[in-house]
């Protein structure tokens, strides 16, 4: 009884024909975004890779299957770019089952045990390859999400010029490593561009200040100080004050204020501004 690898090799052309027909036959499987010739080429390449890898073993995760995995990754990626959705891309692999089972059935004849074993082997193989494809798609999507998150971060950290020489950055949401980088870059650039002496970091909108957030905050404050500007932290709630003391953070060089208004008042005073109300008695 021939191995699965032999079966595939011997029946390659038939499999390619049947597989391609499966794919082209179902409109949802291949809505004209890919040419017949290209599809044929891909099924041909993939079958050859599978047949050759099967000669070593049927463990899709093993090194012998690396070329096959890479081919699947490449094909999936290009399909995403061509506009196919997940179901369509995964179906490319899963539709191999029907033709493959047909080949197995023909080869096994009346031997039902052999038929069951080979069918199971073929089924498991196609499932693993399909899963690998889905995993690749997940990675591609995650990369897109990450990039979009970065863009969103940049949009959501606006630096506001409150007065001549006074900038404010209201931080909203958690402060993680990536956010801190974006915050530092945009704030420091703004300080240079506006020649501002004071930067107010308002943390009213930061829900929790734990060790990590405090470290990120301190990093930002230190960078501001190194450049030669002053930093005031505003929006410090009582719980945050407690956390900062608990963490033993040294804030002797940094002023903290409960409200943005107080921080602005201090910044103006430092800048030599005096605010008076007209007509006050």
């Amino acid at each position: 009884m021939a191995s699965l690898s032999d079966l595939i090799s011997k029946n390659q052309n038939a499999l390619i024909e049947a597989w391609t027909r499966e794919l082209l036959g179902n409109p949802t499987k291949s809505p004209g975004r890919i040419t017949d010739a290209e599809l044929r080429r891909q099924t041909h390449s993939l079958l050859q890779l599978i047949a050759s890898a099967l000669e070593s073993n049927d463990d899709v995760a093993s090194p012998a299957w690396q070329p096959t995995r890479e081919f699947l990754e490449e094909t999936s990626r290009s399909r995403v770019l061509q506009g196919f959705d997940w179901a369509e891309i995964a179906t490319f692999i899963f539709s191999l089952k029907k033709p493959l089972f047909a080949v197995v059935r023909d080869a096994c004849g009346r031997d039902s045990n052999e038929l069951a074993d080979r069918t199971w082997q073929a089924s498991r193989l196609v499932d693993e390859l399909g899963l690998h494809t889905v995993r690749t798609l997940q990675k591609v999507r995650d990369a897109v999400i990450n990039r979009q998150q970065t863009e969103l971060l940049e949009l959501s950290t606006p630096v506001v010029k409150l007065w001549e020489g006074v900038l404010a950055l209201p931080l909203i949401g958690t402060l993680d490593s990536a956010r801190t980088q974006v915050v530092m870059e945009s704030l420091l650039k703004a300080i240079v561009d506006t020649n501002s002496e004071t930067a107010i970091l308002d943390i009213t909108g930061v829900p929790t200040v734990d060790t990590l957030v405090a470290q990120h905050l301190m990093r930002t404050v230190t960078a501001i100080r190194l450049m030669g500007a002053d930093c005031i932290i505003s929006g410090v709630r009582p719980q945050i004050a407690q956390t900062i003391v608990h963490l033993g953070i040294d804030l002797t060089d940094i002023s903290t204020k409960a409200t943005l208004a107080d921080a602005l008042s201090l910044a103006l005073k430092r800048g030599g501004f005096v605010v008076t109300r007209r007509g006050a008695s």
Binding site: A223, R225, L226, G228
Partner: protein, 131 residues
Amino acid sequence: MSDERIPILRMGDYLLVSIQVDMHDKLAVRLQEDLTETISRHVSKGVMIDISALDLVDSFVGRMIANISAMARILDAKTVLVGMRPAVAITLVELGLSLPGVSTALNVERGMALLRKQLERGEHADERHAQ
């Protein structure tokens, strides 16, 4: 190569150093020594280090700056570091250097104002102690 030095400008009681080149380590060490010697010789009251032309400050240069500041203090002079670029500040902080004890200002103009203010404060403090 061995005669290369970073020039130190003297403006009355103040010294101004503008670092414009990518210093090799020996040049940095030489600057530190030259400054110590110059502060002492002229009894300078303040030192301004302008790094606005530097697109990089690594831990060696960072330590050099901290050392200059500390050594100047012993010689009764104040130091101000001016013009650090944003990318440099971000990198130094990530590296773990915060240069505590080094005064900073955005640019030469603000740096001079700070030096003068620190000097006045220092003189008043001295007078108070003397009384």
